[in-house]
Point group: C2
Chain length 220, copies 2
DNA sequence: TATATTTGTTAGGTAAGTCTAACTTTTATA
DNA sequence: TATAAAAGTTAGACTTACCTAACAAATATA
């Protein structure tokens, strides 16, 4: 049985492993920052997780989830994303509101609940941010990871997911009338600062920053 | 901000106040037993709750919730019963399974979630056990509290709630095809041991014990 | 009313999870 | 490669929630 806190550490390590695309290892400071605790606290927890065979790591070395640790992390992530979907689809939460509440709901212990919820939602493959929801068996639906910033002038992409899930970004997208499924055409690339002029389906044309274009996943 | 544990203590005190019909006061041992902790632990917590002005009590005296404590307890109870209703109505949980999971869900912090859930469920007045769900303003729908054991021979009652919510009792009721809304006619009262012969709607006649008849609320 | 029983409190201890301050190791850079 | 910076660890402390054992007060009963 894992504690609420241990679950958070495992999920954090899993997400860092997705983020660090080259190698799935994480560092203590990185992990601590992700969880909003001090590095000293992360070190303490690491010892405990190692003791329980959920991570492999040695002093001053990198952290890697074991199979068991990964399995547990995936379970939490599955719950997190199913709950986000529930809040968004059934209770009319906006996509910048779901995360905070799902952060709590993901820790509810009841295998039956998770699977019934999945069924109730119609076995969704992606959450409101376009992130893949792990299946009951641990598999992750895959999706194209093309960034809007990778498109060339003239190309069109349909938004599949957001890379940045911060409230600030999500609310800005809402203002721009962009959501999962919206088509965006790149009109022009500005070499000077990497910004682009885009045409948004059902919304006025816009100029957006490089940072913006690097935060949206699209399908060509 | 109340901790998970403090919330459990307040809900326990509230429910004991409903139970002790004569006076709403509770004792340390009673409280500890209800929460599954040792009396010494309950005493510790009591001091903290008193410090926070959630209960009034003095050493060796009885425990009483303050208005603030009661308000908080009612909020938890509202969430508990709404979640039970959700699990029962939307996710096909049986009425003996809902309690355990609601025990966890009641602690999720999000006023918006509670109210949206209430709306999603159609503002239910009673939970799957027939217990009243406190309204957002703290009011409790009232209901008739006649026990099956109070009926006389020949009278018919419609089941409105269960007094005992133990798995053992709920599963027995299920076996007998009795649920909220079922009509039961008292055929005969046996003076010797207080048992009664009853006629259950859509099920064979039965003899049930005094204990059984004292655990079911009905409406004449 | 004296004594036994029940009820409630205190003292002292543990475990989880967090922190700060000081220290060590690793890595980057001059 | 020596040194500075960054990354990570350790020691010691705090808070919350729990426990056991010993004690004190209140209540029931002979
Ligand atoms: Mn969490
Ligand atoms: Mn998400
Ligand atoms: Mn609870
Ligand atoms: Mn109930």
């Amino acid at each position: 049985m894992l504690s609420y806190t241990e679950e958070n550490y495992l999920k954090a390590l899993l997400m860092l492993s997705f983020q660090n695309e080259t190698r799935p290892e994480a560092g203590t400071n990185e992990m601590a920052a992700h969880l909003g605790v001090k590095p000293a606290t992360a070190t303490d927890m690491l010892k405990k997780l190692k003791e329980k065979n959920l991570v492999t790591y040695q002093k001053y070395g990198k952290i890697l989830l074991t199979e068991e640790g990964k399995k547990n992390g995936i379970t939490i992530l599955r719950k997190h994303r199913l709950w986000e979907t529930f809040l968004y689809e059934k209770l009319d939460f906006s996509w910048d509101e779901v995360h905070e509440v799902a952060e709590q709901l993901e820790h509810i212990q009841s295998p039956k609940l998770v699977n019934k919820l999945d069924e109730f939602l119609g076995f969704p493959e992606f959450d409101p941010h376009g992130d893949p929801i792990p299946k009951a068996n641990g598999e992750m639906p895959s999706f194209e990871k093309t960034l809007l910033s990778e498109l060339t002038a003239g190309e069109t992409g349909k938004v599949t997911a957001v890379k940045d899930t911060s409230t600030l970004f999500l609310q800005y997208l809402e203002k721009l009338n962009i959501t999962i499924g919206t088509n965006i055409k790149v009109l022009e690339l500005i070499d000077f600062d990497g910004s682009l002029n885009i045409q948004i389906e059902n919304a006025p044309n816009r100029s957006v920053s490089m940072k913006f274009a690097g935060s949206l996943y699209v399908k060509r």
